[in-house]
């Protein structure tokens, strides 16, 4: 219980230290910032240990038998080779595991973008032009693509569509901005709720 009270005080102090940046940059903010970087770096190490190396390599090495056991050495070695980047002389070795992960990433990316995005999204745009909204959606998609991806000088119909594209894009950016404002304010609400509820007990 007492530990929780100390914890809440600590959390409130750190919260206020970060908020103090609003007045101006100051030593308290700097201190909190450095604690944050240090703690999260440490946190990541614990994560890699308890969610990667321990269950995926060590536990598996203990529980499996035969060839499978020794095959596990390959990703273990590749992982360790990644760390050769720490030393300039051996840094080039890290290209080997890196190229493996990049190959996987690229291979997954190609198929996912086509099957998971392009085909369904284009399919969903091929709408019957029976309602105003459908017509607007189709024109909006086409004109946005024209505006963004055809880097030639626009004249006539092209110019009309690219101009239309800007209109759609501006409305979209406006909507995104509205949503972003909403999101940022929500984060502040969360923090002030913490101060009023957990720390000051002003609200239940």
């Amino acid at each position: 219980m007492i530990l929780n009270i100390i914890g809440t005080w600590l959390a409130a102090t750190l919260t206020l230290a970060i908020f103090s940046f609003l007045y101006k940059d100051n030593p308290f903010y700097k201190l909190a910032e450095h604690i944050y970087v240090g703690v999260s770096a440490g946190f990541w190490v614990i994560y890699v240990w308890s969610f990667d190396i321990k269950p995926m390599l060590i536990d598996r090495f203990i529980t499996t038998t035969g060839v499978e056991k020794w095959i596990l050495l390959i990703p273990a070695i590749l992982g360790i080779l990644m760390l050769t980047r720490w030393f300039p002389k051996t840094a080039w070795i890290s290209r080997i595991p890196l190229s493996f992960t990049i190959g996987i990433g690229a291979g997954l990316g190609v198929t996912a973008s086509i099957q998971g995005f392009l085909i369904p999204q284009i399919g969903a745009t091929l709408l019957p032009l029976t309602t105003i909204n459908n017509i607007l959606l189709v024109i909006g998609v086409i004109s946005t693509i024209i505006y963004f991806y055809f880097s030639k000088e626009f004249k006539g119909t092209w110019k009309f569509f690219s101009r239309l594209g800007i209109i759609f894009i501006m409305v979209a950016f406006g909507a995104s901005f509205g949503y972003t404002v909403m999101a940022r304010i929500s984060l502040l609400i969360g923090r002030i709720y913490f101060l009023l509820h957990n720390f000051l007990h002003i609200i239940p």
Binding site: L3, G7, A11, T15, I18, F21, L22, A32, H34, I35, G38, V39, G42, F43, V45, I46, W49, S50, D52, M56, L57, P75, A76, L78, G79, M82, L83, W92, R95, P97, S99, F100, G103, I104, A106, G107, V110, S113, F117, L118, N133, G140, V141, Y149, G165, F168, I169, M170, V171, A172, A175, F177, G178, Y179, V181, M182, R184, L188, R191, F194
Partner: protein, 232 residues
Amino acid sequence: MIRSQLPLIITFFTGMLLIITFFIPHKPFGDLEQRFLIWYSIISGFTVLLGLDSLVRYHLTKLKREFNIHSLILLFSLFLTLILGFYSWFKFKTPFALNSPFMYLYTYVIIPLQATMFALLAFFIASAAYRAFRARTFEATLLLIAATIVMLGRVPIGSYIWKGIAYLISSIFPKIPYEELAKKEIFALISDWIMNVPQNAAKRGIFIGTALGGIAMSIRIILGIERTYITK
């Protein structure tokens, strides 16, 4: 040869294997793919450790040059986290048991620090809206109107404001009944329409473009045309 060609060969082989497996998921491709995916997950964990070295080295050199409280605090909190993490792991079998010291650190240090850093953005965005959001051109005006409608349409106060407007309209034009007009929730309706039609269309257009770009880039990487990742 090994330095430059081997990585290209590995990338080509793994990339192609994943594409082939997508079409032919049977043996031996399917099993090999699954094995590679597990390896990918394992190796990715190690990349996280890469940043750690430069962080520690940077602050250690800084400290060696002259005493510096910030670097000291950073290194201290890093090692404290490690100690508490491994201690919690020994004692609770997982550092993520809610009553472990490691989770104490998470609850009372990481959450407030990270959450407050991002909460600062609320102030900055309010100030930026006041300072930079000017209806200078037709496009900027459009952006501004869309943002305003969405900001009103997505919160409860939008319906109160609309009720006020409806009251005004029906007092000027008594033929329009207030009750029916107030029910319409115009801000929310327009906001929903913006999100579902023009916003949706533009986003789809933009994302189709980026997807095409991404596919082209992935193919270039697999074929070894794009190789900046091995020269850096």
